[in-house]
């Protein structure tokens, strides 16, 4: 029972990270109407940036602030230099472009940081565990839950309570109407891509001390982000959280009893849900 509760907590921590990934992807995909196959690579870059910044400045908190901003800048550059030119192209070309970018970023990771996995310790303040009464639980994972929760709330406040967030939601609903109202749609696209990249970057940075880093981490996360969006719906914040927690917990619980199946179960859960509800959890759009 204690094992199961511990695993459920683990599932919530990773599930919140999945939700962040899905949320960022959902913004990019929803607003720009492109398949972003580089989203996993942005996640991996976030983790590697963190390790480099911490190595350079010796401070985890600075790294957690700077690394995702670096990824957001990268996102800005990608949108400005490439994606922008492809809005009128078909999904096939947009897919090839982002897929090509993912290959490039992934290979650059291997060239710069090496093909071997790296482990990264949490900051001194968050090492060790904490007694929760029913189990002894790593402090860092609790911090991840808190941080991811705060980020989701901040994104929600931004989308629901600010003027710019309202424009972004309108962009997901109806792009033509937004540009007819005299809003610079290209700036909106750039902002959405950068924000989505930021969320992927910070999810990567937060993940680094839990699972360590390896060049393959981006691709694994890409599939998961797709699952979250497919189940939660484009631009649906609650959907992303529900889908992220669902697959995070399912994965953690299965990992306790049948480790080999713990990754496949994410996609199996998606298939099972789609079998019953072809339109996803909430059936929006």
């Amino acid at each position: 029972m204690t094992l199961l509760l511990g695993q459920i907590l683990n599932g919530i921590a990773t599930g919140m990270l999945y939700a962040l990934m899905g949320l960022g992807l959902s913004l990019i995909t929803g607003v720009l109407n492109i398949p972003n196959f580089a989203h996993g690579a942005l996640f991996a870059i976030g983790a590697y940036f963190l390790v480099s910044v911490v190595g350079l400045l010796g401070n985890f908190w600075l790294g957690l602030m700077v690394a995702p901003l670096g990824v957001a800048l990268l996102g800005l550059a990608i949108e400005w230099a490439g994606v922008r030119r492809l809005y009128s192209a078909g999904h096939d070309y947009q897919l090839l472009f982002t897929f090509g970018l993912a290959l490039i970023l992934n290979e650059l990771i291997i060239v710069i940081w090496g093909p071997v996995g790296i482990s990264h310790l949490p900051p001194a303040l968050l090492r060790g565990g904490m007694d929760l009464g029913f189990t002894f639980y790593p402090k860092y994972r609790l911090f991840v839950m808190l941080m991811a929760g705060l980020l989701v709330v901040a994104t929600w406040l931004f989308l629901e309570k600010t003027r710019y967030g309202a424009i972004m939601r309108a962009g997901i609903e109806n792009k033509e109407m937004v540009s007819l109202l005299g809003i610079d749609i290209h700036r909106l696209f750039t902002a959405a891509f950068a924000l989505g990249a930021y969320l992927a970057g910070i999810a990567g940075a937060l993940t680094a001390p839990i699972r360590g880093l390896s060049p393959g981490m981006g691709v694994d996360m890409l599939g998961i982000a797709f699952v979250v969006v497919a189940l939660g719906g484009l631009g649906n914040l609650l959907g992303a959280i529900a889908a992220g927690l669902l697959i995070g917990i399912a994965q953690a619980v299965v990992a306790a009893y049948w480790t080999e199946a713990s990754t496949a179960v994410i996609f199996a859960v998606m298939a099972a849900v789609l079998l019953v509800r072809p339109q996803g959890l909430f059936g929006i759009r």
């Binding site: 995909t29 490439g82 096939d92 897929f99 090509g100 291997i110 996609f267 199996a268």
Partner: protein, 306 residues
């Protein structure tokens, strides 16, 4: 319209004189794979990013039977077609109910499901090391272990596949699929059940992928884990697009260019996926429309300068 077929025949005869027979064989196998994808991408307008699911599943199942039960070549190919079609039916059933970007993401996510099963089920698939020791059994006392003999077999099967696919796209079914691509709402209004026809296209495409997968396993004597991975799915999309998804022959041109390039690049540099990524980006940003378009642009440019 006799010309393209004559060209393909000439290419089949001439190719092994230009490149090694193994690479020439791989090119036609990849072309069969591309023909299957193009029924979805070019004719039905469905961008599947999970074709390796069917290619790899068929290669594993038929490879296992070839290795442990000593079945013949034609039984193996039959098994491959069956497994390819069945896995495409399962995946397609979940995907055709969603459209656009959701569809693309679902094909990728389900590809990952099959990939991780192959990755973890090491007792059967060999996991990361792949499933080695796939034999190439003789047919009627003809030994296919020589690369040239196998090339002849594969190119004959490729021509057969091309003929079958030509019949499919020119049949009423092919017309209905194109109608769905052009205007799904209208096709539905005329009385065609669009999801069912999309599923049918998926199953036929899956059968072609499975067929190609088994030939691939017999070519290299191994089912590598990559054969069921997303990079393979991406490669076939790329090959089809550079050849031009608008015609029946596009994926064939694309396979020649893509396999020849990747085989010559991968021996030069271990980090060749980096070059591949750069190639994707350049093609998309500057050479949309494929190789044919690129050549005609260069042609126009050289005419203008002289």
């Amino acid at each position: 319209m006799k010309h393209p077929l004559v060209l393909v025949l000439a290419a089949v005869v001439l190719l092994p004189l230009v490149v090694r027979p193994a690479i020439a064989t791989e090119i036609w196998i990849f072309a069969i794979f591309g023909l299957g994808l193009n029924l979805l991408l070019g004719y039905t307008g469905l961008l599947s990013f999970g074709q390796a699911t069917f290619f790899g599943s068929a290669a594993y199942v038929a490879g296992y039977l070839l290795k442990h039960y000593g079945i013949g070549v034609f039984s193996a190919l039959g098994v491959g077609i069956g497994v390819g079609a069945l896995s495409a039916l399962l995946v397609g059933y979940l995907c055709v109910q969603r459209s656009g970007l959701y569809f693309i993401m679902l094909t990728f996510a389900l590809n990952q499901l099959f990939y991780f099963i192959a990755y973890q089920w090491t007792s059967v698939t060999g996991g990361e090391d792949g499933m080695p020791g796939i034999p190439r059994p003789p047919i009627l006392a003809i030994d296919f272990r020589s690369p040239v003999a196998y090339y002849v077999l594969v190119s004959a099967l490729f021509l057969l596949s091309l003929w079958v696919m030509k019949r499919v796209v020119e049949s009423p079914l092919g017309r209905i699929l194109q109608a769905i691509r052009e205007n799904e709402v209208r096709a539905e209004a005329v009385g065609y059940n669009a999801p069912r026809f999309k599923l049918l296209a998926f199953v036929i495409g899956g059968a072609f992928s499975g067929f190609a997968g088994v030939l691939y396993a017999m070519l290299f004597g191994i089912v590598p884990l990559e054969s069921i991975g997303f990079v393979f799915s991406g490669n076939v999309v790329f090959a089809t697009l550079i050849g031009g998804s608008g015609s029946l022959y596009g994926p064939i041109i694309g396979s020649v260019v893509f396999i020849w390039l990747s085989e010559s690049m991968s021996v030069v540099w271990a980090r060749w996926p980096l070059l591949l990524g750069v190639a994707f980006v350049i093609v998309v940003l500057f050479l949309r429309g494929g190789v044919v378009e690129a050549f005609s642009r260069i042609w126009r440019f050289s005419k203008r300068t002289t």
